[in-house]
């Protein structure tokens, strides 16, 4: 594949210079690894988010009110309307349930109408159903009869009469259940504290392209009405109902609380114009729900996810760019070292293109090897990262299984292409420079006169990149979201990195008089060497500076957030104990709800003074997902004030919420969505938009898109949702058994309980882990930069071979030579750190005052992280010094006669 001449000239040289090749491969592989991990993480998050927003999404249109759900009765209404082009209307209900018999395994319960379509081979869910022989067929006869007659109402009734819910389960659940419980007993699933007996009648298997395939083995299918009654339960909760008793109770409940489903799926006739059908369906539904295309359905979640994705991509792009500069540096030296070879080749008739191709081929091979190593490394990095946040991701998304290791062919090929492109692109500049030299100059080994042009081109590129970046930042409001604010910042950074040789030149010029006046010979020589080749050292200093700048910025943003957020946590997490159904990570989401009877039970305990309940939901607002926090407002205000007499000055505002449609919004909500006190906001409810009046703002850091607070009682009425997610329990201080009573109750009910200190500690650790993730990615950049220091100093030793040889010849001791090279490493570390802090400080300001404000509406004061800066500087200079050791040892081993002859 590679022409013989390039194999002969390029690859053999690479093998001879294996140490430099290894550095290039390491740089590329680290860059590719961060890219791969970012892609996997993004894909993982995107699939999970998509799966959460629209599980089993195979319809052409969706009738939805988000988490609030839509009334089941709309199905019949839409069917009766015979909307042109709409072939079928399918109600769908879904949520997470736990399986107590199977170690509280979490599964997704999905309810759909029982129809021939679902069970047919060409069903839209692309699943195969294998009926179980042990299923009680005699109990199913009326149901099968109704389905074959096409009478779905009769089928639903027949289904209701069957004791125990008939379910389809995936093979892993079935096998687990069969092994632990056995087919003679029911499969019990639990939701909101209520246990429901089910009877598996079949095992489902999904095709690879099934919309249910992302759920993997965690699927339970059920008839929609039955599923709805489990997931939207009829009070009183807690008892295991079933059969005729439940039918009667359900009928009574349905009269006052119409049955809800998550969404209605509309399937269109082939060839139907989607927009026309959408408008026709909207005319039937009116304001009671939205009719959305799959793309629109995805949009709001994508808005949230894209922020995370951009974060990952920026880090991977950063590592790739730093890698690119370092590969450039290493190849620039290779070109310099091989200048005699280039002269020979040019004299033998090699064309300029062949010279460029020679270096590009070698770089390409190294790039491919680096990329091939980077791909598995990236998978590992993704696994480690996801491992760190497994619980949080599980609680964020519907699907409990987040599979981190899914490396697609596209990602693998993209990574290989990125590695190849980076290496070849980095090689192009030095190779083209070499090829542009006049052959006579090369043969004569004199310098060409075209350097001025390259210098000018370099300066123009730096100015253009920085100018473009600043322009994008200034015009960010006219550009697509984040392109200006984040894309612009990246361009400025790349421009500064590229300009590092010039900046280093300036810094060196500034310090030269001081160094000459006060430093010894060793340091002076190292300093002069640094300034003699700013092109070589500047790139590495720039890379080091980029790593330091990003770490400084992260530390600064972290420090600036830390105090206000910790202070806020200490004021809002004031109860003695917290009771919830799932785990600590899912406790502040709607994924593991409880019956509100838990609060009643807790209040009845003698040891308990107060109980404040919370229900979370995530409705859409202004094109994104916001947090709706429904709480016992009076209890919250009184309890918080009793525990924090001087904190939260606005907590009394909560007293105005009960019995009204008034809400409080977080300050970041008001800022981000431009909402003022007195405005009315609309959030989707089960029967269309619910209008809520904003009566105040409060400090809250729960959610980056903003939070809305309302009284839970009114919420339950407006949104038809009586469940709760968490109970804040205030225990009487003088009670002898105190917290133990609460723990005992929770244990009896299979609930979890934690105390205030543990919850605060958990939240602090969660924040630390988020910053750790950011640091981890930046450490990769730091490692790549350290590799750059090794390369730059190896090059320095090569370039100074004659000088070092002369030094040794005139009596310099090996120690002096070692110190001279190490001094250069220390100086590079010092300059890189100084440059990094100089860039990191405005970056911190920009992230806090522009990016964060626009992204989340959160406003924090800029705090300079002095302590962390000291640590980063020590690490940076230490790394540079350590990286200088190998080249320094190389320098000491210089053979004097050979060095003196070196050209």
């Amino acid at each position: 594949m590679i022409p013989a001449v390039y194999r002969l000239l390029g690859l053999r040289y690479v093998l001879q210079r294996w140490d430099r090749a290894a550095l290039i491969i390491a740089s590329i592989s680290l860059g590719v690894a961060t890219l791969v991990s970012a892609r996997i993480l993004n894909q993982c998050v995107e699939v999970a988010a998509q799966d959460t927003t629209t599980p089993a999404g195979s319809a052409d249109l969706y009738v939805t009110n988000g988490e609030a759900g839509v009334y089941r009765s709309l199905t019949e209404e839409m069917r009766a309307a015979n909307i042109p082009g709409v072939r079928a209307v399918q109600p769908v209900v879904y949520d997470r349930v736990s399986l107590p018999q199977l170690d509280q395994r979490v599964a997704v319960l999905l309810g759909a109408e029982v129809s021939g379509q679902i069970l047919s081979r060409d069903n839209p869910l692309k699943m195969k159903v294998e009926l179980l022989r042990e299923a009680p067929l005699f109990q199913l006869a009326p149901l099968i009869g109704a389905i074959s007659e096409g009478d779905f109402s009769k089928a639903s009734e027949a289904w209701d009469r069957i004791p125990g819910r008939l379910v389809l389960v995936t093979r892993p659940i079935y096998d687990d259940w069969k092994a632990r419980v056995g087919p003679g007993k029911p499969l019990v699933l639990q939701y909101a504290g209520r246990a429901v007996d089910c009877l598996p009648i079949g095992v489902v298997q999904f095709d690879a392209d099934s919309p249910l395939a992302p759920l993997g083995g965690n699927f339970i299918g059920m008839e929609v009405n039955q599923a709805s009654r489990i997931l939207r339960p009829i009070p009183p909760f807690g008892a295991v109902l079933g059969g005729p008793a439940e039918v009667t109770a359900a009928a009574a409940w349905d009269r006052t609380h119409p049955m809800k489903v998550n969404r209605l799926d509309l399937f269109l006739e082939p060839g139907t114009d989607k927009e026309v059908a959408r408008q026709a369906a909207a005319a039937v539904i009116g304001f009671r729900a939205e009719i959305r295309t799959p793309e629109a359905q995805r949009r709001s979640t994508q808005e949230i996810v894209s922020g995370l994705q951009i974060g990952f991509l920026v880090c991977s792009a950063g590592a790739m760019i730093v890698g690119l500069f370092l590969v450039y540096n290493a190849l620039a030296v290779t070109v310099a070292e091989r200048r005699p070879d280039i002269g020979i080749l040019r004299s033998l008739g090699a064309t300029r293109f062949q010279i460029v191709a020679l270096f590009a081929t070698a770089a390409g091979v190294l790039g491919l090897v680096g990329a091939a190593l980077g791909v598995p490394l990236g998978v590992m990095l993704a696994e480690v990262t996801l491992g760190q946040f497994e619980d949080e991701l599980k609680s964020m998304f519907l699907n409990p299984a987040v599979n981190p290791t899914r490396l697609t062919w596209t990602n693998a090929l993209l990574a290989m292409a990125a590695g190849l492109f980076t290496a070849v692109f980095a090689a192009l500049v030095p190779a083209t420079q070499a090829a542009m030299d006049d052959p006579a100059h090369v043969v004569r080994r004199t310098t060409a006169g075209s350097k001025g042009l390259w210098k000018l081109a370099h300066q123009i590129t730096c100015v253009a990149l920085i100018g473009m970046g600043i322009g994008m930042i200034l015009l960010r409001h006219a550009l697509p979201p984040r392109l200006g604010s984040i894309g612009g910042m990246m361009l400025v950074l790349v421009g500064l990195l590229l300009a590092a040789p010039l900046l280093v030149g300036m810094l060196v010029g500034l310090f030269r008089p001081l160094v000459r006046a006060f430093c010894g010979l060793t340091i002076r020589m190292a300093f002069d060497n640094l300034s003699r080749t700013p092109g070589r050292t500047g790139v590495v200093i720039g890379a080091l500076g980029a790593g330091v700048a990003m770490m400084f910025q992260t530390a600064g943003v972290g420090r600036s957030n830390e105090e206000p957020v910790v202070d806020w946590i200490s004021q809002v997490v004031v109860a003695d104990q917290f009771v919830f159904a799932g785990n600590m990570t899912s406790a502040n989401s709607s994924n593991s709800p409880m019956s509100d009877s838990v609060a009643k039970d807790l209040r009845a305990l003698p040891a308990v003074e107060r109980v404040m309940t919370i229900r979370y939901s995530r409705p859409e607002f202004n094109g994104t997902v916001v947090y709706l926090i429904a709480l016992d407002a009076t209890e919250y205000a009184r309890a918080t004030r009793s525990r924090v007499p001087d904190g939260l000055p606005d907590v009394e505002k909560f007293l105005d919420l009960p019995g009204t449609d008034d809400v409080l919004v977080s300050e970041n909500f008001a800022r981000r969505h431009n909402v003022n006190i007195g405005d009315t906001i609309q959030l989707p409810g089960p029967n269309g938009p619910v209008s809520l009046r904003v009566i105040g703002t409060i400090v809250d850091y729960s959610w980056s898109r903003g939070s809305v607070f309302m009284d839970r009682k009114r919420y339950a009425e407006l949104f038809g949702d009586n469940l709760i997610d968490m109970c804040h329990v205030f225990v009487k201080s003088n009670h002898p058994t105190g917290a133990k009573d609460v723990e005992h109750y929770a244990s009896e009910k299979g609930l979890f309980v934690t105390d205030r200190d543990a919850l605060r500690r958990f939240l602090s650790e969660l924040i630390s882990r988020i910053y750790l993730l950011a640091y981890l990615q930046q450490i990769v950049i730091g490692v790549v930069a350290a590799l750059g220091v090794v390369t730059a100093l190896l090059i320095s030793v090569l370039q100074r071979k004659r000088e070092l040889g002369l030094l040794l010849a005139v009596g310099a001791t090996p120690g002096q030579v070692l110190r001279s090279v190490l001094a250069e490493a220390v100086l590079m570390g010092l300059f890189g750190t100084a440059l990094g802090i100089l860039i990191g400080l405005p970056m911190e300001w920009y992230v806090l005052k522009v990016v964060l404000v626009e992204e989340s509406g959160f406003v924090f004061d800029v705090v300079i992280p002095w302590k962390q800066a000291l640590g980063i500087a020590t690490a940076s200079i230490g790394t540079a010094t350590l990286a200088g050791l190998l080249p320094a040892i190389n320098a000491v081993r210089t053979r004097i006669p050979e060095a003196i002859q070196w050209e």
Binding site: V5, Y13, S347, L348, A350, F353, A440, V443, T446
Partner: protein, 228 residues
Amino acid sequence: MIELIDAVKSYTQGRRVVNAVRGVTLRVNTGEFVSIMGPSGSGKSTLMHLMGALDTPSGGRAVFHGQDMQMMTDRQRSLLRRERIGFVFQAFNLLPNLTAAENVALPLLLGGQPRRGSLHRATESLERVNMAHRADHFPDEMSGGEMQRVAVARALIAEPEAVLCDEPTGNLDTATSREILTLLAALPEVGKRAVIMVTHDPTAASYGTRLVKIRDGTVEADEPVYRN
């Protein structure tokens, strides 16, 4: 065959402008072995670079078989060097990581010829200089004389019309120098090939058929060499 017409070459070295060649007119025909002599810095190497299409004159013309080399593109000049001109340098200029045969085969490989065929022809070329037995050896395994023979084999592999030698014996002892010069002297053929050799050694120059003396970038003398 190769002609310089009032050729001038200036270049900058650091901040200094060097006028290496100042209006040289010279014609070399096939069958000739031209020795160019002059002291260090006289411009003899630059003159050779102009004749070998390694460089183009700042003024005047450099012509190869009637074609103005200044009018050629860089690629055309590269092809000219690859196919019609061979070079032998003082420092041998063999690539250290290639074997003798691979070094010799380079011009063919650069021309895109298959590796096996190129190496076969390289071995033939090495036989011409009695170096076939060292075909698989690397430069650092050979003596200076052997390396220069390999360089000559490389210069000859494309059957060029001009072989340009820049101080080919500068790094060799007397006996080896004699061998190399004898080898070079046998190369010129009327209608087929000329040899141009830059040297500052009168003994080496005496192997030529014509002697051009250069001083301060101009031709001081151009006379035939009569060998005893």
